[in-house]
């Protein structure tokens, strides 16, 4: 399992990245993230929706309502220009962290600490 703190920290980049693939709605976003992580991350509604609303309040997302035949309306979210910039920033930050960790885990020869791999 992925610890709570990491789930909480990654929720914003996940949402932004899923929406970068195209317009989507809450249930679909949860399903997409669940699939991509092999079921290791599955948000509850009370986790996802307030974050979506707060991103919308900040202007990173915009939404539209689509009426459907059965049931109530469905709310679709998509990235704004501001949201795309925010996603680029997030991406850079996560890549920085990722690369730093990778360097530690797979040292390039020449920068080796001298320890033989186990």
């Amino acid at each position: 399992m992925i610890p709570k703190a990491l789930v909480a920290a990654s929720i914003k980049p996940f949402i932004l990245s899923v929406l970068a693939e195209g317009e989507s709605y809450g249930y679909a976003i949860i399903q997409r993230v669940k699939m991509i992580t092999g079921g290791r991350i599955e948000w509850t509604t009370s986790t996802l929706y307030p974050v979506l609303h707060s991103l919308e309040n900040k202007g990173l997302l915009e939404s539209r309502w689509q009426t459907s035949a059965e049931g109530p309306r469905r709310k679709y979210y998509q990235l704004t220009a501001k949201g795309e910039k925010a996603l680029a920033r997030e991406k850079q930050q996560w890549l920085d962290v990722h690369q730093a960790l990778m360097q530690l885990w797979n040292p390039t020869p020449g920068f080796s600490s001298g320890l033989a791999p186990a």
Binding site: Y25, G26, Y27, A28, Q31, T44, T45, S46, T47, Y49, P50, H53, S54, E56, N57, K58, G59, W65, S68, E70, G71, P72, R73, R74, K75
Partner: protein, 898 residues
């Protein structure tokens, strides 16, 4: 057969949605989104093979906890409004609601003036009492804190007594750098005769003190220099009051006052005037004279700074960095060094606790030594009064809670309508709390007004000098708001929860319910109110009875019709004999004697004599108190002689000759010494030739009834510190007094004639108890009054609710008596329960209080029976007004109504 039933997803979702609809945090957009989510999820689960019902249950479970969802949604609520530009609307809407709430509050109060009055009046009195007592407690806790370094000022206690040697202060100051200042205060002159402009007056509270007095204590001088005012001999510093009294508008500094204490009179130069003393100082003075004056006025002045000669109070101020524990640790060695010699360095003398230190801020509430500079209070009175304040406030709050919940039915429809149009429960709680805040706010303002008006009476009652001006406004406002907020929480929260709990579907159908659980709760609260009242009433009655008991108890002497003349030895010896002979010529003067100390004596005034001869084979130190008396003491005081003979003139000659001192003892002494035949017995004593018992008198009370009658020795004396004159019961007491004064003037022309009455002196020793009795009486009257206000309101409500029932009963033949007893039965039960709850508590409390008195009343059933009757009577009268009114109502009117 199993009942067939089919799950309808749409209905289930609609029900789920309704449960969230009243919650302000979820907008309808949010609910649309969530519902669609649920539908998607359920569809997915059904595809996976679950039934719709199972899928719904699972989706609900996975949705997570409702309250965390609400909290998360609340966080983004205002952001949503801002994004949509709806913040202003929200505010306008909220203001409109506020206006509506206010309007409803005012209308409700206006429609129910009687209840509003009862509620607010009770709260006003309760809050005012609470506030006054808070001020009192604050004042008591502030004692001596006005000194700049109050935390570093200590008083020295020597072997559990306050008297210390005049050598102590200088020795401490020079031996320990931590002791910044050590100051002696000497009451060598218990009073002074002040002569100025040809007029002589006795004044109290005259002290000798070191020139560094003002370095330790913060008593600002309005005139004169605090550093030099007390440096020269024969300098005196006055308080503003004394300066006004003797010099009027003149400048007192540099003028002289002729002062006579003990020994000769001297001229003193006024070197300063002290600002009026604050009311929260543990000691007060009228005059401070320079300590070094003593060396030039007292016979045996060389002893003043001897370690053997104790009598001064010693105060010291420590360095700010120093700790008193460090100084205390050095004291055993210090004591041994200085005082050891007096005891020939005996090894068995324990110097470990020879000197101890009392923080000056503890003196007023905790110090009860003999010879305190002024009588101190006790911290337990703070507890008692605080408890009373809380009880009264509790009673007032209970009124509020009871009336509000009782009348909640009237508001039920309003609550229903509000809920139907979308009010959330928290909004309703807010509304009703707001109403409480408004009412309590009004009550608070009125209470503050009442406090201001009643403060002089309260000060008079408690003998304090609390002034509102002394406290910072912010602090008072803080206290007021604090008490107000506590009352809002205590009184407002419960009714608000009850009111907001109504279910619209029920109340709008007219089904408010009898509120049985609320009624039980109300009854419980009434029990608490009356239990509190019962405790207070029992306290009042006990204190009053004990007071009556002490004032009426046979003292064993007759204090009526006795004038006590304080002579200060101005008329003594031969002049006393002449005075006595002259007075006895007057027909209204029956008999004259003298005594020292005056009766009633305080324990510390009694000289002690010892008998250390073997008693029953053991060397026992036997102690007795001693009073020096004139010859006709027994006749004048009307004390019966049991055995032997009375004192007679020849006895004084025997004393003068130095052979024996013929003395009288009381029965307790005879028993204590184990003498079956006491006449002729002699015992060891210090001052006189050997005392020999010539007579035994019946025990009489020579002290307060708090003290036991101890073994007592009456020894004859030709001195007369106090002259006791028994006068006949004549109409012309003033004339008789004039005769005594006239004879006094012949014997002591320079001295004022100063007299009191013996019965008054005996009554005065119970002043503290008298005051306590008054305070209890006032507070319990208030408590009962507030409780009755509430009961009155409740009774009115109950009678009103049962109007129809009463009408039907009357039609069916019930009499007025039946109806009244029907309505009063509950009340009697409640008072009964309250009594059962309160009586044991009250019993414990009064038993503890009474144990302070050596002679006290027995706690019989009388007080308890009286209390029950009193409470029943008061409560009965309160309720019966309403029940009789209800019972007399014409049933036609009450039944036709609907």
């Amino acid at each position: 057969m199993r009942k067939s039933y089919s799950f309808d997803l749409n209905k289930a979702l609609a029900a789920w949605r309704r449960s969230l609809e009243y919650n302000h945090a979820f907008t309808s957009d949010d609910l649309d989104e969530l519902e669609q989510h649920l539908r998607d999820q359920i569809a997915g689960l059904v595809r996976g093979g679950l039934s719709e019902e199972q899928a719904f249950a699972r989706a609900m479970r996975e949705m997570g906890d409702y309250s965390t969802a609400e909290a998360e949604y609340r966080k983004v609520y205002w952001g949503k409004l801002r994004r949509r530009g709806e913040v202003r609307n929200e505010f306008i809407w909220r203001m409109a609601m506020l206006k509506n709430y206010l309007k409803i509050t005012v209308r409700t109060l206006a429609r129910q003036k009687g209840y509003a009055f009862i509620n607010i009046a009770g709260l006003v009195v309760g809050l005012a009492v609470c506030f006054l007592i808070f001020l009192f407690v604050r004042h008591e806790l502030s004692f001596d804190r006005f000194h700049a370094q109050a935390d570093q000022i200590y008083r020295v206690v020597q072997q559990e007594e306050l008297a210390t040697s005049g050598a102590l202060a200088p020795a401490l100051e020079s031996a320990y750098p931590d002791v910044v200042r050590a100051v002696r205060i000497s009451q060598r002159w218990p009073e002074v005769l002040v002569t100025h402009d040809g007029e002589a007056r006795y004044e109290q509270r005259f002290f000798f003190t070191d020139s560094t007095f003002f370095d330790v204590f913060n008593f600002p001088l309005v005139q004169g220099d605090p550093r030099t005012a007390l440096t020269r001999p024969f300098s005196v510093v006055l308080t503003e009051e004394m300066a006004r009294k003797y010099f009027g508008k003149e400048d007192p500094v540099g003028q002289t006052l002729n002062l006579k204490g003990l020994w000769d009179a001297h001229d003193f130069e006024v070197t300063g005037v002290v600002q009026s003393l604050p009311s929260n100082s543990h000691f007060t003075f009228n005059f401070l004279a320079s300590y070094n004056t003593r060396f030039q006025t007292e016979p045996g002045a060389e002893n003043i700074e001897s370690w053997r000669y104790i009598g001064d109070y010693t105060y010291l101020r420590l360095d700010e960095e120093a700790a008193i524990e460090d100084l205390a640790a050095k004291m055993p060695a210090f004591a041994k060094q200085h005082e050891g010699a007096l005891f020939r360095n005996r090894e068995d003398i324990d110097f470990a606790t020879w000197y101890t230190f009392q923080p000056i801020t503890d003196i007023h509430l905790y110090s009860q030594y003999e010879r305190e500079l002024e009588p101190n209070s006790e911290v337990r009175y703070l507890y008692i009064f605080s408890a009373i304040a809380l009880l009264i406030l509790l009673i007032a709050c209970i009124n509020y809670v009871n009336l509000a919940t009782a009348r909640s039915a009237q508001r039920a429809r309003e609550v229903g309508v509000r809920k139907v149009v979308g009010a959330h429960r928290s909004q309703l709680i807010g509304q009703f709390m707001g109403e409480s805040v408004a009412q309590i706010g009004v009550a608070l303002l009125l209470a503050l007004l009442l406090v201001k008006l009643s403060l002089p009476a309260f000060n008079n009652l408690l003998q304090t000098g609390i002034r509102l001006e002394d406290a910072a406004f912010g602090q008072l406002a803080g206290i007021a708001l604090g008490i107000g907020a506590a009352v809002v929480l205590l009184a407002g929260l419960y009714p608000a929860t009850v009111l907001s709990r109504f279910r619209p579907a029920y109340v709008l159908k007219g089904n408010v319910g009898t509120g049985a659980s609320n009624a039980r709760f109300r009854h419980g609260l009434v029990v608490v109110q009356f239990a509190a009242s019962v405790v207070l009433i029992i306290g009042t009655l006990t204190i009053q009875r004990q007071l009556d008991f002490m004032q009426e108890k046979k003292l064993g002497l007759n204090p009526e019709q006795v004038v006590v003349v304080s002579t200060r030895n101005a008329v003594s010896g031969d002049s006393y004999t002449t005075f006595k002979e002259e007075l006895l010529k007057h027909p209204d003067i029956l008999s004259i004697t003298a005594s020292s100390p005056a009766l009633p004596a305080r324990p510390e005034q009694l000289m002690e004599v010892w008998e250390t001869r073997p008693v029953a084979g053991e060397e026992l130190p036997l102690q007795a108190s001693q009073i020096s008396v004139g010859l006709d003491f027994l006749e004048t005081m009307e004390i019966p002689l049991v055995k032997g003979r009375n004192l007679r003139p020849g006895d004084l000659d025997q004393m003068r000759a130095g052979t024996v001192t013929p003395v009288l003892i009381n029965e307790t002494a005879a028993r204590h010494f184990g003498w079956t035949e006491p006449i002729g017995k002699e015992f060891g004593c210090c001052h006189h030739p050997t005392p020999r018992v010539v007579g035994v008198v019946e025990d009489f009370h020579y002290q307060s009834l708090k003290e036991e009658i101890d073994p007592l020795v009456l020894s004859p004396t030709w001195w007369s510190r106090f002259i006791l004159v028994r006068v006949s019961t004549t109409d012309d007491l003033a004339g008789t007094l004039a005769v005594i004064e006239d004879k006094w003037q012949t014997q002591a022309p320079d001295y004022p004639f100063d007299f009191t009455f013996l019965d008054e002196r005996f009554a005065q020793i119970y002043d503290a108890e008298e005051r306590l009795a008054q305070i209890f009486a006032v507070f319990s009257a208030l408590a009962v009054l507030i409780a009755c206000l509430g009961l009155f309101g409740l009774a009115a409500f109950m009678a009103q609710r049962r109007t129809k029932e009463i009408g039907i009963r009357k039609v069916l033949g019930a009499t007025v008596v039946n109806i009244v007893s029907l309505l009063s039965k509950d009340l009697v039960k409640l008072v009964g329960i309250a009594f059962v709850v309160a009586a044991p508590l009250a019993y414990l409390a009064i038993e503890r209080w009474l144990s302070d008195f050596a002679y006290h009343i027995d706690i019989g059933p009388g007080i308890f029976v009286l209390t029950v009757l009193l409470v029943l009577l008061i409560a009965g009268v309160t309720v019966s007004y309403q029940s009789i009114k209800a019972a007399l109502t014409d049933p036609v009117k009450s039944l036709r109504h609907e």
